[in-house]
């Protein structure tokens, strides 16, 4: 196993809770964060939305205020001490930032466009730049003034899994001594109605890998993780596999060829073989095609030997924030010694041949893979390992 890079701090916020502690506790208890959708849509569904009121950004960032910004500010506040320590240790110019988002702040433009159609003008204070992905970087740089490289990846639902590849490359190349990675995404009309137009939205809580699964739920939230060249943390980033299906914009390759290649590449980079993997946090959206293709891919590489969990039944699909959030869940399994129940998976689709976690298991695991797949056939698998 390669040494990798330690993950020295992390934060998460989503439908399970506004703080990392609440999120991990709810995950461990097997409680779903899916509730009535806070955005009015003309079809039945449930969403993973943050129930707590989100504090606005500091007054200096008032022009950047949006739900996305508020979630990010909350995640940064939770990491104040470790980020300050990293800055003192490495210097601001040696710390990079790599974030992912898919939806960005598009909800702001939805509201502005609607008002423009009604009133003939956009709302006072509307700024187009607020919807763009690099708004996330402006917030981080204002609150944690790291001056190393900063990037935003936007590859739809794999966005904040790909940032682990960026961080690994930057650390390996000596561009940085620490990288803050993560992702944020919010609910909006376009994603809710867009997935509904593709007939992929489940009216009830999603059932990843279940025999009668019938679609996904959407969620909002985000996660941040601090990777350092050296440091103390319960888990390490070991490897990242990144591939393309080259098959279809929305449907995965039916045999999961891109997913297989991504998992094999992540293990190769980590110096691991299939027999070393002790847990998989699957992409597991709950759609018929995704779960069938991913199930075939996992079964092809691992058979039914490895316990598999989809956490979409807890948070909904967080799109551009899913990769980073599920990285936090993977690390929580390593740190706290439990595998969460794969909510909604009973009765399982036995054709998939997977070992689904059907009740929460108290179990130490040292190696975890986390899968993220996206529109465009973009596949990422991230390998995490316990600190030695």
């Amino acid at each position: 196993m390669h040494e990798g890079f330690p993950i020295t701090a992390y934060s998460a916020s989503n439908g399970l809770g506004a703080t990392t502690r609440d999120v991990i506790q709810a995950l461990r208890r097997g409680e779903s964060g899916l509730r009535a959708c806070p955005i009015p849509v003309p079809f039945e569904t449930v969403c993973g939305a943050i129930a707590d009121e989100l504090a606005p950004p500091p007054p200096a960032l008032a022009a950047e205020d949006s739900r996305q910004t508020r979630i990010l500010c909350g995640l940064l506040r939770q990491l104040e001490a470790p980020l300050l320590a990293a800055q003192r240790r490495w210097g601001a110019d040696r710390i990079g930032v790599a974030l992912g988002t898919s939806t960005g702040g598009i909800a702001e433009t939805e509201r502005a466009f609607s008002e423009f159609k009604r009133e003939g003008r956009a709302p006072e204070g509307y700024q187009f730049s607020r919807q763009l992905p690099d708004a996330l970087l402006r917030i981080v740089r204002a609150l944690a003034p790291f001056s190393g490289p900063g990037v935003v990846v936007s590859t739809a639902c794999s966005s904040s899994a790909k940032v682990f590849g960026v961080a690994r490359r930057w650390l390996s190349a000596g561009l940085c001594d620490a990288v803050l990675v993560g992702g944020v995404d919010t609910l909006c009309q376009i994603t809710l109605r867009g997935f509904h137009s593709l007939e992929l939205v489940a009216p009830q809580p999603c059932r990843p890998f279940a025999r009668d699964r019938n679609g996904l739920n959407l969620g909002e939230g985000g996660a941040l993780l601090l990777l350092e060249r050296e440091g103390t943390g319960s888990a390490r980033l070991l490897g990242v596999g990144e591939t393309s299906d080259a098959f279809h914009m929305t449907a995965p390759h039916p045999e999961g060829l891109g997913a297989i290649a991504a998992m094999e590449a992540a293990m190769r980079e980590a110096g691991l073989s299939a027999g070393d993997i002790e847990h998989i946090n699957a992409h597991g959206t709950g759609t018929s095609l995704n779960d069938a293709a991913e199930g075939k891919a996992i079964a092809h590489v691992f058979g039914d030997r490895v316990p598999v969990v989809s956490t979409k039944g807890y948070t909904g699909h967080l799109l551009g924030a899913a990769g980073a959030t599920e990285a936090v869940f993977s690390i929580a399994s390593i740190e706290h010694g439990f595998l969460p129940v794969s909510l909604g998976s009973v009765p399982a689709d036995s054709d998939l041949g997977l070992q689904l976690v059907q009740e929460t298991l108290e179990r130490r695991v040292k190696t975890v893979l986390s899968n993220s797949f996206a529109f465009g056939g973009n596949n990422v698998c991230v390998a995490f390992g316990a600190a030695s």
Binding site: P42, D93, S102, I106, T109, E110, A112, F113, S114, F116, K117, R121, Y126, F128, L132, P133, D134, L137, S147, P149, G150, V151, V152, V153, S154, T155, A156, K162, G165, V166, R169, W170, S172, A173, L175, Q189, I190, R193, G194, F195, H196, S197, L198, E242, T243, S244, D245, A246, F247, H248, M249, T250, L257, G258, A261, A374, F375, G376, G377, N378
Partner: protein
């Protein structure tokens, strides 16, 4: 890194990518068609196999044409077109490229405002260092045709640069090295006014210097800060 081929055609009215299946091309935005046209053209001109090259796409504003169409549908009857929806993600061109070129390799899409070109170069340099023999950088941004957002100097623009790890002397436009961040104003003198507010415009002075085989440093970025890139002779 050796730059093998750079392509930029800001005057093209109808970009053509023969590899893109007609049913995909019909539904694709101008931005995606531009990105695929310059990407395939640069890769082919450079003599790299477009089915096995790693790709780094960059677009600061994404699929604005699709976004506006979806916003119109939202305020009309609220029914969204599934094709417009899945073609609205920032990595639409990346996905179409992989399908058109039957490319199963690494692909990413970056969105970093005026730093998009510089960060795409950094990502490509890291990929070359790590594993790739060649990386195709494909950057572009469309006009912002949202009625209440004025972007006069942001006409559509796309460009592609193919970087290889090694290339014999004389068989490339030169070498590129990212020096580091800089506070000096970026090299914007050669940017035509119609592209002045296109976040991808910093690629124009870079391509211009490469085509002149002009060694030296170029600042890529916005008005206040950016990244310094050094061009060397091959």
């Amino acid at each position: 890194m050796a730059l093998v081929e750079g392509q930029c055609d800001p005057t093209a009215q109808e970009p053509v990518c023969a590899l893109l299946p007609a049913r995909l091309a019909r539904r694709a935005s101008l931005l995606t068609r531009m990105l695929l046209a310059v990407g395939i053209q640069a890769g082919t001109s450079a003599g790299v196999d477009v089915s096995s090259v790693s790709t780094v796409f960059g677009t600061a504003r994404g699929e604005v044409e699709m976004l506006v169409a979806l916003l119109e549908m939202l305020t009309d009857d609220g029914q969204l077109s599934p094709a417009r929806f899945h073609n609205s993600v920032y990595n639409t061109a990346s996905g179409h490229f992989s399908i058109a070129a039957v490319n199963h390799c690494f692909s990413t899409t970056l969105a970093v405002g005026h730093d998009t070109v510089a960060l795409a170069l950094i990502e490509a340099a890291c990929l070359l260092r790590e594993r790739a023999e060649a990386v195709l950088i494909v950057v572009g941004d469309d006009a912002v045709n949202i009625p209440f957002v004025r972007r006069a100097g942001a006409q559509p623009l796309a460009a592609a640069i193919c970087l290889t790890r090694d290339r014999p002397a004389g068989q490339s436009f030169g070498t590129l090295a990212v020096v580091g961040r800089c506070q000096a104003p970026a090299s914007r003198a050669e940017i035509p006014t119609q592209f002045a507010d296109n976040p991808i415009a910093p690629v124009l002075p870079l391509l211009s210097a490469l085509q002149r085989r002009s060694a030296g440093e170029i600042a890529l970025g916005g008005d206040d800060a950016g990244w310094l890139v050094e061009i060397g002779q091959s």
